[in-house]
């Protein structure tokens, strides 16, 4: 018996806008996924601790503050340190085009920016988990 895909959605740092992440949470729930939402203003350490304990397939970070180039490397490093490098990291929100390649190079698997339709978010996440295979 398979399990629903487990996703942790996190808002990190000084970013108080959570309408987007709540819409995504609801979309993923309606697609049959288990969504853990940890609330606003979390630190990278808190988010990674939660992701490790919850053993999520996907860690989704919502960022509209422009701090992605500071926060994402920290998260990738912490996941590595905590023996959780097999967590699929995706970033959603507002990210300038020129930052997409560097983020992918540091291990972010997918960027779901503000014009991504809900259906496509679901499809891309499902594909990422399928490509990863069992763990």
């Amino acid at each position: 018996m398979g399990l629903p895909i487990r996703v942790l959605l996190a808002k990190v740092g000084l970013d108080g806008h959570d309408r987007g992440v709540k819409v995504v949470a609801r979309t993923l729930r309606d697609a049959g996924m288990d969504v853990i939402y940890t609330g606003l203003h979390r630190t990278p350490e808190e988010v990674v601790n939660a992701a490790v304990q919850e053993d999520v397939d996907i860690l989704g970070i919502s960022l509209l503050s422009g701090a992605h180039m500071t926060i994402c490397p920290k998260i990738m490093q912490l996941l590595e340190d905590k023996d959780a490098a097999d967590t699929i990291v995706v970033v959603g929100g507002v990210v300038p085009d020129e930052d997409v390649t560097p983020l992918k190079e540091m291990g972010v698997k997918e960027l779901l920016l503000q014009d991504t339709p809900p259906k496509e978010i679901v499809a891309r996440l499902e594909k990422l988990v399928e490509e990863r295979g069992p763990r």
Binding site: M1, R6, A31, G32, V35, G39, V52, E54, R135
Partner: protein, 323 residues
Amino acid sequence: MPTSSADLVARLKKGDLRAASRLMSRAEAHDDETLNSLGAIYKAAGQAHIVGLTGVPGSGKSTLVSKLVEGMREDGRKVGIIAIDPSSPFSGGAILGDRIRMTNLVMDEGVFIRSMATRGSTGGLARSALTSVDILDAAGFDVIIIETVGVGQDEVEIAKASHSTLVVSAPGLGDDVQAIKAGILEIADIHVVSKCDRSDSNRTITDLKVMLAMGINIAIKDRDGKPLWQVPVVGTSSETGEGIKTLIDTLDKHRNVHLNTELGEERLRQIAEYRTFKTAEDLLRNRFFKSTNKTIKNVVEQIAKRESDPFTASNDLLKKIAF
């Protein structure tokens, strides 16, 4: 290549929490190899104090858990939390939001929080919640708190799954206290009235005390008629911290009564019985779904058209289960 579950169990027994979290996922997925390791985990467990916490939605369960655990951490006890939220009956998905109320605990190495979805289980627990409890127990946690979904009147399974059951009531429900007294209020080992910073909380405390005095086993007695445990009512405020220390002391007292009297042995037998039935039910359910997933659609179609009936069809389907 995924790590074998046997390896994970070996790591778990040394207290490796990454192994714990992975084993919980695999157990929940009914991974065959992992199911074979669960027996060893169960046998390694049994040291922890398992506390069940239940109450209506919005009664302040998650917030109370966060304060309770903060208090328990002061004397160094390691605490695991299993927080359960409902799955959607339509999509099967879930929003698990109990962590939002527990952010004070996230950076504490002595606390482990796992969110679980009910996945069609109706008793207030998640299907493999107790396996997750075993895993935390085997990893060396001293106390494990199971927070049920927000319940109504009839989700009383938690009492068969925990050593000490807390039922949380919030003030302001007035006559509802009376209305629900035949159901969930009966299972409490300790009644908690939350939000005691509110002026109407005394009324709720009194209501509960009166209800207890009216006869729902006011004291569990031993053979000589000596009372072993009298269900207390503890008022708490997660806002001011009032009553949290009293609640922890009351829980410890209940634990001691259990460890030292026949009450505890009886409870352990009840839990074992419940686990056995539940586990058998889950195995049967999984095998049923596995062996019928190709044929079930046609069968349902026939029953809907009244060409067949659920009694004959179920009987036939059960006979085809591969053991």
